[in-house]
């Protein structure tokens, strides 16, 4: 694939390095001259100095044949515009924008950006996984946004301890995919699987039923 990376900061550098190793054709657009020099020294002649939001720059690096454009500068608005120009002027099939402000996710989606990555949200998800007080951990939001893969640790006092999965009513559109026991290998449960305290349950649920799911499994 031909992938254009807008922004040669730390994220752009490491990302490009991995993509190159995976055998992709990569081009980095970076405005700062000394940064361009350093990137060229490290990665070879795959760096072009210029503004990734400018149509003329994008034109000169052959954006018309790019399979993907990833904008990873530290300015959310710059990433948005780079993706929009790529999409609307050059018909790039897939655009991905990095964002610092997680609130921009809905806006970017509404404005036609295919995928967004929020470093803030990623760090937050990791913190939440580490926090025992957070009973329901969102692991993955599926592309459409209506379903989520979540993880719940069954607390010792929960009403579901010692009960069969088939015996309690799951919210509509939710299903338990996997049970990770304390000393057992992960397994796919059946209706007859009995839950134990400290079991980690991986389930798929809709966003609106997240709360109900949490209530059932934590037994509150």
């Amino acid at each position: 694939m031909y992938i254009i990376v807008v922004g040669g900061g730390e994220v752009g550098y490491h990302l490009s390095k991995i993509l190159l190793n995976d055998g992709h054709e990569v081009l980095i657009l970076e405005q700062d001259a000394s940064r361009c020099e350093r990137l060229t020294e490290e990665l070879g002649a795959i760096v072009h100095r210029g503004d990734g939001c400018e149509a003329t720059t994008l034109d000169s690096v052959g954006t018309g044949r790019a399979d993907m454009l990833v904008a990873v500068t530290d300015g959310d608005e710059d990433n948005l515009v780079a993706c929009q120009v790529a999409k609307h002027k050059f018909n790039v099939p897939r655009t991905i924008a990095r964002m610092t402000n997680p609130n921009n996710e809905t806006i970017f989606k509404a404005l036609g950006i295919d995928a967004t990555v929020s470093s803030t949200n990623l760090i937050l998800a990791h913190i939440e996984q580490e926090l025992p007080s957070h009973p329901l951990i969102p692991l993955l939001k599926l592309r459409s946004g209506t379903f989520e893969v979540v993880e719940v640790k069954v607390p010792p006092g929960s009403g579901v301890v010692g009960k069969k999965i088939g015996s309690f009513r799951m919210p509509k559109g939710s299903i338990v995919l996997l049970v990770i026991g304390k000393e057992k290998d992960p397994f796919i449960p059946t209706d007859d699987t009995v839950l134990e305290a400290e079991d980690e349950v991986v389930a798929i649920t809709s966003a609106e039923n997240e709360e109900a799911m949490r209530a059932i499994l934590s037994g509150k």
């Binding site: 003329t56 710059d78 515009v81 929009q84 609307h88 402000n101 609130n103 809905t106």
Partner: protein, 132 residues
């Protein structure tokens, strides 16, 4: 009319003064309070410190009741993003964006934004002067 202007640049401040003098309800936003010194002494509207790309600041400025949103910051990308938020998220009836880069201006005009490119406008004026 309730008008929100984002970016107290020279143009932003001038426009705010003009609309205010005509009796409109004007709120001007900027991240840098020092830039409000450009507002005319007679300005009776609201000068609000805040980033027009952030929900909270926009709500504080009253975007939900605004009739007009204009972005006049120095950054094309900031203007474009703010105006798209105003238009597509808050459905402000009239949204106008300043975009210096004529190519970007043309693209966003085609995407349905109301845009003004000072570069194009001034170049045209200068050309007319030279030839006239």
């Amino acid at each position: 009319m309730k008008v929100i202007i984002m970016g107290c640049s020279r143009v932003g401040a001038q426009l705010a003064g003009m609309l205010d003098a005509e009796g409109h309800n004007v709120t001007i936003m900027d991240v840098e309070p020092y830039s409000f010194r450009k507002l005319p002494q007679t300005f009776k509207g609201v000068a609000l410190v805040g980033n027009g790309l952030e929900d909270e600041a926009l709500k504080k400025a009253g975007i939900e009741e605004a009739d007009v949103f204009v972005s006049t910051t120095q950054g094309d990308n900031r203007n474009v993003m703010a105006c798209q938020i105003a238009k597509h998220i808050y459905h402000v009836p009239k949204v106008v964006s300043r975009i210096y880069d004529p190519i970007r201006e043309e693209m966003y005009r085609n995407l349905g934004l109301d845009t003004v490119s000072p570069t194009r406008v001034v170049a045209d004026l200068l050309k007319d002067r030279i030839e006239g």
